[in-house]
Amino acid sequence: MSVQLMCLTSGGGLPIFTRCKGNTENLPFSLIGSLNGVHMFSKSQRMELLSTVTNDYTVVWKELYDSLIFIGIASACTTEALTQVIECAGSAMVMVVGMDEIIAQRNIERLKRELRVCSPVIDRLLDCLDFGDANTNQSTISISGMVKTILTPENHLIKIVLDTFTECIDSMYSCVLIHGKLAVATDSWWTLHPTEIKLLSLLASAEGSSTTSKDTPVFLPFKSPKAAFRFVTCSLLPDVQVCCLCGPEQQLEEIENSAAYCFKSTMEILGSAVQCHPRNFPATIQLDAGILGVLLINVECRKYMMSKNPQPKRIVNGSHRLDILRTFYYQAVLDVLLSLREDVESTVVKETYWCSEYHKCYALKQHGNVLCVLYNANVPTMVMRSLTRATLKVFMAEKQFCW
């Protein structure tokens, strides 16, 4: 029900930031210092401290870039998930201030000030952690290491316009976000590291939709950690943004104009695409009545679509559904179905499921796609397999999603 994330300099143990979520308070510095101290001491003994688990909590120590120590304490989540979030948080810091700054640490106070920009991003990353607690804000529920997408029936049309726009601004990297969820992106956008894609989406939506356009310098933690790009976002409609990475030549105004010009004729399409929110897939796709929610994952692109199926009669509390799906993903799917060991291992997991007193979950992997479905508890276990298969087929048949 809580998570605390602390970041310190690994040389001096100076605190850089602390973020909390859930019903917890900031730890006193003495405790943070001791937590850092044990890591430092074990390093002097040529032993690296990684994690400690208790019945309910997980504590992870992680040193990144030989200069930052992250200490995360979270309840009811796996070590893997917490480590993944920490790594993401580290990348978020690099994205904002650049690798040089992180490593050199010339002025801690200035670094702290500069890093304030990424605080909302890190908070959103903490949303990825799975506490299995029904009070989670549903709109922010997300999964670590992957970018959230929305499947609108207009995606293929928007893609054409987006390609034109990208050409106009002399860039290769751009995408359209609807409610902070990625609708379409250029092919080059998908060549970015999954963490970068995720962080850029978060950064764009973290700014809030009040601003019409924004120009932020960003470092790409994997692609270019030392040289900054410009990350430009323009609001096309409320909750619809077009984002791009570009070089220093273009003026912000020019980009805004190009966006307005290119998307002028597609405003209606965008308007109807927004209707897909919050279901995240078009209403034309009818799922079986026993299905309470779906989570569709593209393993290669590290993107996912999560949705609850509107139900005539509500059996499981709606807000709880996505939580269950996410828990299922972290506990049962992440380790086994998403492993990229496939090439080397002779044995791979194809399907997995669990049945609880109150619900059932089923996950299926096919051609790099994983579909996790949350079922009503009264759906027979044997039926889930074929139902999940059929559902995945329905999603894959729709070409206009640009999945």
Partner: protein, 910 residues
Amino acid sequence: MEEEQYLLQHPRDRNHSHEQEQSVSEEEWSEVSSDCSSYYSDTDSSVPEWESSIDESGQLLFIDCHPSVTQTHVDTESSSNVKPPLVKNQTRKSTRSKFLRLIRRRESKRRSKRVMKHESSQENKVTFHDSGDGEIKVVTVRVNEEGVKFKLGRRVKLVETMLGIIVGTFTDGNRVMVSGFTPDSEHDKSIKIGDWLKSVNNIDVNVHNLNTILNQLSGHEAVDLTLQRVTGVEVTKQPPSNELSNQSNFVKSLTGSTNEELLNLLLDQPVGILYLDTEILSENGPEFQGVLYCYPTPLAKNTLCLCRGVFITISHLIDEITKTKPLVTTVQIDKRLAHVVYNIIDSKILFLMLPDNRLTAKEIVLVNDEIVRMLVFIYESIDKCFTEQNTSELDHFFSRFFARILSSGLWSKAEQSIVLSNFKNKANTQAPYQFEELLPMAHHIILPNEAQMQIDDALTELEASDYREWNEDPLDCQRLFTILGSALYHSGYLLASHLIHGDLVDVNCYCRQQGLFHLSRTEPLRSMIHWRECFPYSCNRIEDVIVPSDSRRYLLIVGAGKDLLVVVMEAGGCTEPAEDNLPPDAFYVEEAQATLAHLKELGISELAERWTCSNPGTQVTVPQAPTNVKKKTDFFFNKSNSPISTPVNMQNKKQEVTSILKRRSSDQGPLTQSGSLFSIPDDSELVSEDSISQGGYSERSEVSDEPVLGRRALREKNRNNFDGSDDDDSDIDDYRDGSQISMSSYDLSELRQSLLNDTGDIQPMQLTAGKELVLYHYVHLDSTEGIFLSPPECTVNSNTLDSVLSNFRESCQHIHKLFENTLRFKNLTPQDMANSVMNKSLIAIKEYGVLFETDYLDDNARKTCKHTFWVIGRLFHMPHPREIYVCYKDSVPQNLVEIAFKLGISMIVQ
């Protein structure tokens, strides 16, 4: 061989080597003539052979293995020196009278018939069922002329040089058995180890005339050997292996050298155990202040010990921050992951560190629990365990423990001795996943009802220790022990338990970790006796149970063959008060041994062996590539050792049956008298009794151990015979009512016969739906009862199966962990539930399945052919928590509830 060092040795056992060698040489003839009954084989000592092994604390671990064939087979040249039967009688008499004195010395009047019983069990325990009922074949063998010419002295026997055959004897000491082949011989494939060499060129041979006959034939180019196959079961039971039997290794391991080298190797590995007191730590104390125990030593080289500050601080910090106790910390040492488990006991902490590639974090928690449980069982508490006087014993245990963990994974594949030269490589490889072997439960094999009843009967009788029936005089002394419970194991599989569940788990942990199960599985044990004080769960760790303060409990384990009988006894309370360092009492040891012998005689061992070696059995199968149907059957036929293979010679059988009938009536006298036989030590009577029954003995032994296997006609024939002697029934009843022990061997043999025959058709129920057998493995956990059901270890060598099982076990660990959430939540109070930070989506999971896709690893041609299988776990709450895990081929959908039901049924009906 020279660079190998052997680990499975007990510090106190080092002095055995000498003693054992001695006893082997002494026994050269007795081995031949009086077979394997261990407790009498030290014919010249007045005390039981194990008595000298008792250490000053009263503990005993005595292991006596079957000598391998090299030691047993009679040197044919000196065989003429074998003492005549008369001498044998004298020795036996002397043994008995000495034994008698031993009993008298204890001033106990419990003497009774048990000596009789020993006698019968001794005589009946013929190791080879050489009833001569196998097929007869004639083989022509070329004589190696050169070998004869260049006779290599006395050590190489004529038969070896001439025929390339190594011979031994059957237990009657007369008939010649093929026990091996010389390395360079090109022997005929139809000659099998264990065959009875009946005649050479139609001249009947025995051990005495073999050499003479061969000498006469030395001019011939080829000779005709007439061989007869003896029943298969016993041959495999006591492999008449060649000189390279592992027994010799084991003897070496008992005598073994020091473990210095191993200790150095362990220091390089991320392993360790550390027990510390955190309260007495002070800023400027000595360097290793507060360290109460540490292994491997020295402290200054032990990573765990050097970094102890880290773990102490973590345990305090985590407690303060999260209000929960730390379980496992994962660290990386020299690029290797390792896990450290915490056991916090008040202000003291026990740490255990093991590398990740040998045991995953989940496995380490289980192993840790088992170790802690075992230590509490034998030392009362962790605090009392890590004291000065236990250090050497603990060192020895942990050196074996770490060496095994690092060099071999599953117990079934564990090595008896560890080859140090290869140690480091092995320690760096990935171990297979483990699951059921790590759980605090005993692997239970359910035998057919009839057998189960016999076992229960025998155990109950042992536990009751009701000796009044045996004595004419009333007992006027207090008992030494009350038996709290007993359990019977075969090859490490639990056959029956009369122990309280918690105690069973304790005993099981102990035997498993000490390697006793492994020993009984892999070594041809002649006899094992283990005795030590223990602190079982039921008398130590349940709070509201009041146990007499002056009472003490002891663990007695006796083993023979693959059977292991565990007895937990209590001294004090209603029995004689306990004393310090109490050594085992010969009377109770022999009672236990007699029970074991009785069960063996009943055929329980054989039945259990049949059930545990039904490779892979009728319930489970081995993954096979689809088109290989034909190959598959071949495969199984070759691998499975089907005990019902040898035809039985009807003629022979009939004769023997009549012979017991005769014997029974003639023996009645001495048997009924036997109660008083030993109250008056009348030597002359003893001698006469012995000499009378001398002839009878061999008959008796042959009958009772006869492998009457699967011949319905024969059985009926026997029944008819018995019917003819109806009027004897009253006599049988007369001396049956006392104890199992006083039953005549006639009854036992019939029981055995019916037990083995009637259960021949009974097979475990097929668990999965559909015609085809699709189940690869299952595990049914019952933590309340402390047992789990699972098919016996399959020795079929299949990489696919190994890979399937490894995946199965990995998934099981994960599923088991998730089910723990459900169980934990169910046990929370409503108040705790509200405060709990548990993931609410995980609190009610009852079924979990994973579908794997894999290649067939055994068949290169079929590698492209994919094979899918399910691993499914299911949790049942009612009436008490049980978990079932199955692994089956993905074809017909299976219902876990149905499988669980069938398994549950199998526990009741057979």
